[in-house]
């Protein structure tokens, strides 16, 4: 990977003093993950450019795993953009090679170290996850002029579209130390999905290098979140192993999909209204032992736990990862013994018959059925309505008709990429009436969210009640 840094401050060759690197002499440095080379392709009184060329050892990356443990997947790839794209490795190289300048020291030209000078930085390939707008949001508030050109993926296959990499030029007039600090933090933030930290104590580093500018940055939350990326558990690694060629990073995909859906539905905080309605339905059923099937990260469980009516609460999900998050969100490990006794989290599937689900009075199935392939619905119906057979069942699902009201949703597209279908009101009611008739339940329908006179509510809800024996 290559970073070039040009100044037109005169004498331009003073850049050499600032960086403590002689413009006349190329130098190389050993790094834990490869080598860094510093040389000056041009060095005149008017204009001086320094190049930082980092050679990342692609085999070493995989073989002598650097970086936090558990940062599995990506580091195991030999086919990896790390040797080519600007990333956290560049930050490390900057800190190692230009350490003095990064800390704002300059013995020979102390006044220059704090002086705002014209600087231009060029990246030959900078990954910008979040796209060009995000790039602008990161650098513009810091006073940079940003020029970015997106690189094509492969000109032989134009249908594949463009890559996530940009050739980027940043121009600004500011002290070199500040520019290096910005790069140190923001390059990995742009890179986002793969971090290769060489040391630990990331929070301290972030605060140190963000001193004086991060606290006031309008994107500070996004910066911190991306900089301190969470880690994965072993089971998730196992799931990652099973990922199809079609979606190489399921966790990232899940996160993106959920964000997309939330973004679509955000205007009316639909999720809250949905949970409120489901909670009311369960509460009104006088059920004491309740199931939350497809509990996800446990938002409904959190509500249920706060109400003493529910003496036994079981959350079930097919995603092991979601259950882990639910466990954290509910502080399961720290719940008092009496509370803990009320709640159980189960890993399971709604298309396998499950003895553990028998004997409950009510079940909530919130935004779940649309994630099942239509041919698998028959199995789901039997698992829930024939075998688990709670007295009350509350099912919610998107109302497809309402989708025309979402500005950000292209016509014909589902709200979530994992949705296998989205039903209109007649489709959902047809299904629910059929299920109720086949399994001996009665059903009524309720609206969730603001009702549109033409296309109905954004979410539809069915309440099933088992016929008395």
């Amino acid at each position: 990977m290559l970073l070039t840094l040009t100044t037109t401050y005169q004498p331009a060759t003073d850049l050499g003093y600032l960086l403590r690197k002689n413009p006349a002499r190329p130098q190389s440095f050993e790094l834990s993950f490869g080598k860094a080379h510093v040389f000056y392709p041009e060095a005149s009184h008017e204009r001086c450019t320094v190049a930082l060329l980092v050679e990342v050892d692609p085999v070493g990356l995989v073989r002598n795993r650097r970086g936090p443990s558990g940062e599995g997947g990506a580091l195991e790839q030999y086919v990896n953009d790390r040797p080519y794209a600007a990333s956290s490795f560049l930050s490390v190289a900057i800190a190692e090679v230009f350490g003095t300048a990064l800390s704002g020291n300059c013995k020979e030209r102390p006044e220059l170290a704090t002086l705002a000078i014209p600087l231009q930085v060029t990246f030959s390939a900078l990954p910008c996850r979040g796209g060009e707008p995000f790039l602008g949001k990161l650098f513009a508030p810091l006073g940079y002029q940003v020029t970015a050109t997106r690189l094509p993926l492969d000109e032989q296959f134009p249908e594949w579209g463009e890559s996530a990499y940009f050739r980027v030029e940043l121009t600004a007039t500011l002290p070199l130390q500040q520019l290096l600090s910005h790069l140190y933090v923001l390059v990995p933030v742009l890179d986002n999905d793969k971090h290769y930290w060489v040391g630990d104590d990331e929070v301290r580093k972030l605060l140190h290098h963000g001193e004086g500018w991060l606290a006031a940055h309008p994107e500070r939350e996004a910066i911190a979140r991306r900089y301190l990326k969470h880690r994965r558990s072993l089971v998730d690694d196992a799931i990652a192993q099973l990922a199809e060629e079609g979606d190489p990073d399921p966790e990232l995909a899940a996160e993106t999909n959920a964000q997309e859906e939330a973004a679509v539905e955000s205007k009316i905080s639909l999720n809250e209204q949905r949970l409120g309605s489901v909670f009311a339905a369960l509460k009104g059923s006088h059920a004491v032992r309740v199931l939350d099937l497809g509990c996800g990260e446990g938002r409904l469980l959190q509500l249920l736990l706060k109400d003493k009516q529910f003496a036994e609460i079981v959350g079930l999900d097919v995603s092991h990862r979601a259950l882990e998050i639910a466990q954290d969100r509910l502080h399961y490990d720290r719940l008092p013994a009496l509370q803990k006794k009320r709640l159980r989290l189960l890993h399971g599937s709604l298309i396998y018959r499950d003895q553990r689900l028998a004997g409950f009075e009510a079940a909530a199935v919130v935004e779940v059925i649309e994630h099942l392939d239509p041919p698998r619905l028959a199995a789901f119906e039997r698992v829930l309505f024939e075998f688990a057979r709670p007295g009350t069942i509350v099912v919610t699902t998107p109302n497809r008709e309402y989708n025309v009201n979402w500005e950000t949703l292209p016509a014909g597209q589902f709200r979530h990429r994992d949705h296998r279908f989205e039903w209109t009101r007649p489709e959902f009611q047809g299904w629910a009436n059929g299920v109720a008739a086949r399994f001996g339940y009665s059903v009524r329908f309720l609206s969730v969210g603001p009702e549109d006179p033409a296309v109905g509510p954004p979410t539809q809800m069915a309440m099933f009640n088992r016929h008395p024996k």
Partner: protein, 846 residues
């Protein structure tokens, strides 16, 4: 004194402290068979004499006793047991597990016990304790039988105790040593003419005095209900009594038989359900004959376990926990089955469908409830086809599993519950297929051990099963389609040849060392693994797979996911494969309605679109841009006279390698606008109706599948190499070099036979040998730089190879279970196992 006890007994020793129970137990039973209350006291309290620990100690003792009896293990309780309330728990436990409680009482004079206790410092209690225990014991003696002990033995002196010999007797139902072959006959109900015809068809002939014999020594088994309703009850009884008496037949009792016996014995029973017919017919017989009939029925054993436990026959069926056991409850179940306590619209008791829950390994053959057609469900089959109601009399041939029937000559009685529907539309799905519509989580979750024919037991770890559950639930196709998942494949050992990681020499050497003289080399296509199931028509899909309304087949990935998202596209694709199979005459040739093919589907870009964009092309794009800029900047520096020559040369060489890399992945990509842009290369004809073709050599698979070639289907080029002939081997190497020089992925080397077992067990079913350029998309664009290659040579294959064998064995196991028409959960277990194993961490580059 000889004490004879049933082989599965719950033996309760009774005797005061110091009566010598422990010594007695040690002498006659295995250490693991004895549960001592003192020992259990020690387990829970560190003190074998702690009376305070008694309650906890007995909890432990009861728990272990339950586990042992559930597993069918004789168990002995070593405790004083002098009070009826302490014994009651043991009688209850014996009943729970349908085994017989046996009491052995050591009734020595108090003095002997007291003297013995005096010599033991840990038993410093006075004579009053022993006296009290002895009094309780003596009060108990007469009541033991009433408490439920079927066998009671009282030993009154040291001499008597010393002289005891214990003999373990097999239960009457244990006929495991009888291996058949058998012909099992359904409910006869006095249908003598039909029985005569059926026995004739089965190859039996009537010899002296009504004794039916088979020329090849086959034996008859009657599932009971010989009598009532029909016209020839006496004749049927005479035949069966004679044939059982001569050892040519076995018979288990039916509820009608038992009721007749009770009536003949003079008991008060209601004359209904055809009993009147039996009595009328027997009225003309002698008293002596009626007594013989009653004795015969009285002696019948509730059920039989035959053929090493592989076959169970009981009149109304028998659940697993009762098989081979003897108790009143077992007899009740065998005679009447289980009822839910409710009655149906005809006023008959509603039956609990025990067969739907059956998970046993033994085949259970039964009758009792008339059905229009016998239908397998979870290894059970009901062969009562209602002959007396105008249906037919059916026999099941074992082990052939063939059904032979003769139609009723008349409708001799009217069934209260009409068993033949007024109109008889063929049921869409068989009982098993309907049952299989839903799998049970308990059959896949947690740590599991799956038995395979090829590779013994394969363990599935809990975490891997959890990962598989998620993938199976969220993405997989209808599990009824998933009869196979392909195994992973190991590469050849690492080559030491300059510039190479893999080379055929190592693959050939592997098989030669494993004792394989000839191998097949098949071109390895670079696409995506696909399993294709295609049926002759939708009706065939329904018959074989129990699937309706999902078309004529499926194409799925290595994780059981539908290959194509668009159903129309999939249909078009399957029609092309179906047409090829029809043109090649496969349906008739294999007498099948379906085929299961193991294939590679190209282009790679068809399925790997996202991976190509996010990873392969992305790396290429960033590498090209970055290296071009690096070279330009270095050239600029060189022009200034800086010494960057070495770095420049290295960077240029990296730029060249990246160029090769991009060319490599591009070779496996082309746009797919219609189904005709695909290429399908089948390489295994895995299975057809009733057959798994693993008995055929790979040359057969190649040649047979080549007949499908044309249009989108490719015949895979292959070579047979003689590993004992250097020239042949050289030819194989040359072929590989040619393939890889053209940009091919490489080749797969397989032993000629599909399954090879060597001295160290199963041999790898295939080993891949990949080309230099292809490996750039595995090991990275710059892997051929000498410094990189040297380090990459260090790679261990053993984990991958072990995984490949386990997955291969499970995959073939799944197919074989399917071909044998086992319940879906059994097929699914193996398929689920492959998916779970795939989640084990292994080096993904291998």
């Amino acid at each position: 004194m000889k004490i004879t006890i049933p082989e599965l007994s719950f033996v309760v020793l009774i005797g005061v402290s110091g009566s010598g129970k422990s010594t007695f137990a040690r002498k006659h039973f295995k250490a693991t068979e004895i549960l001592s209350s003192d020992y259990c006291r020690g387990l829970v309290s560190d003190d074998e004499n702690s009376q305070a620990a008694t309650s906890d100690a007995f909890d432990v003792l009861h728990f272990i006793a339950r586990k042992r009896l559930a597993a069918g293990k004789l168990t002995v309780v070593d405790a004083t047991n002098v009070q009826p309330e302490s014994r009651r728990a043991f009688v209850e436990i014996a009943r729970e597990f349908h085994c017989l409680p046996v009491a052995i009482v050591l009734d020595l004079p108090e003095r002997v016990a007291h003297e013995r206790n005096q010599t033991r410092p840990d038993r410093a209690f006075g004579p009053h304790v022993i006296r009290q225990q002895a009094q309780q014991l003596h009060r108990s003696l007469r009541g033991l039988e009433r408490e439920g002990f079927r066998h009671t033995f009282v030993l009154k002196s040291l001499e008597e105790i010393d002289a005891v010999v214990i003999e373990r007797q097999p239960l009457w139902n244990n006929l495991k040593a009888e291996h058949g072959p058998f012909d099992i006959i359904g409910d006869v109900h006095g249908c003598g003419d039909e029985l005569h015809e059926l026995l004739g068809q089965l190859g039996y002939a009537e010899e002296t005095a009504g004794n039916w014999k088979h020329s090849a020594g086959r034996k008859l088994v009657f599932v009971g209900d010989l009598v009532d309703r029909g016209p020839k009850v006496t004749q049927v009884l005479k035949w069966v009594i004679a044939s059982v008496g001569s050892g040519d037949a076995f018979c288990v009792p039916g509820n009608h038989d038992v009721k007749l016996m009770r009536k003949l014995r003079g008991r008060e029973v209601q004359i209904a359900h055809g009993l009147a017919e039996s009595l009328a017919q027997l009225a003309t017989e002698s008293d002596d004959f009626r007594t013989r009939v009653a004795d015969f029925i009285d002696d019948l054993v509730s059920h039989y376990v035959f053929d090493d436990g592989k076959l169970v026959v009981a009149h109304a069926g028998l659940k697993e926990s009762m098989q081979g056991r003897g108790s009143g409850a077992v007899r009740e179940f065998a005679l009447f089955g289980e009822t839910t306590g409710e009655t149906d619209e005809f006023g008959l008791p509603e039956r609990h469908n025990w067969a739907a829950e059956y998970r046993g390994s033994a085949m259970v053959v039964y009758g009792h409830t008339p059905v229009p057609e016998p239908d397998w469900l979870n290894r059970t089959i009901n062969i009562d086809t209602g002959c007396v109601f105008g249906g037919k009399l059916t026999a099941l041939r074992y082990p052939e599993r063939e059904l032979v029937s003769v139609p009723a000559r008349a409708k001799y009685a009217e069934s209260r519950r009409p068993f033949l529907p007024v109109e008889t539309p063929a049921p869409v799905l068989s009982a098993q297929q309907q049952h299989d519509d839903l799998l049970d989580l308990a059959d896949v979750t947690g740590k599991r051990i799956a038995g395979t024919r090829l590779h013994g037991n394969v363990t599935i770890r809990e975490g891997n099963a959890a990962a598989a559950l998620e993938v199976m639930s969220r993405f997989a196709a209808n599990p009824k389609w998933l009869i196979y998942l392909p195994p992973t494949m190991s590469p050849s050992e690492t080559s030491q040849a300059p510039g190479l990681l893999e080379h055929p020499v190592e693959a050939f050497a592997y098989y030669r060392h494993a004792g394989v003289p000839r191998v097949v080399c098949e071109e390895k296509h670079m696409g995506s693994r696909a399993v294709v199931i295609v049926c002759r028509d939708e009706a065939a899909a329904q018959r074989a797979f129990g699937i309706t309304g999902e078309g004529i087949g499926i194409c799925y990935t290595r994780t059981g996911r539908r290959f194509f998202d668009d159903p129309n596209f999939e249909r078009e694709f399957l029609q092309l494969v179906q047409a090829a199979a029809t043109a090649a005459g496969f349906w008739d040739e294999f007498k099948t309605g379906w085929l299961c093919l193991d294939c590679e589907l190209m282009p790679w870009s068809a399925k790997a679109q996202a991976l190509l964009k996010q990873q392969y092309a992305a790396v290429g794009a960033s590498a090209r841009a970055s290296l071009a800029a690096e070279v330009a900047t270095l050239e600029q520096a060189a022009a200034r006279g800086l010494d960057v020559a070495e770095l420049l040369a290295r960077t240029r060489s990296r730029q060249q390698m990246v160029g090769y890399y991009i060319a490599a992945y591009r070779g496996y990509c082309w746009p797919v606008n219609s189904v005709h842009d695909l290429k399908l290369a089948p390489f295994h004809l895995l299975a057809t109706e009733g057959k798994v073709h693993t008995n055929q050599p790979h040359t057969w698979h190649m040649e047979t599948l080549a007949r499908l070639a044309g249009g989108i289907i490719l015949a895979t080029p292959f070579q047979v190499i003689d590993l004992l002939d250097a020239a042949s081997e050289a030819e194989g190497i040359r072929w590989w070099e040619e393939l890889t020089a053209r940009g091919g992925e490489g080749m797969v080397v397989k032993p000629l036979d599909f399954i090879v077992k060597g001295s160290r067990g199963l041999v790898q079913p295939a080993v891949k040998c990949r080309g230099q350029e292809y490996l750039r998309i595995i090991y990275g664009p710059e892997y051929t730089a000498p410094a990189n290659l040297e380090r990459l040579r260090a790679r261990g294959l053993s984990a991958k190879r072990s995984l490949a064998l386990r997955e291969f064995a499970l995959g073939i196991e799944a197919l074989e279970r399917f071909a044998r028409k086992e319940p879906l959960r059994r097929v699914h277990e193996a398929v689920f196992g492959v998916l779970a194993l795939e989640s084990e961490p292994t080096d993904p580059r291998l």
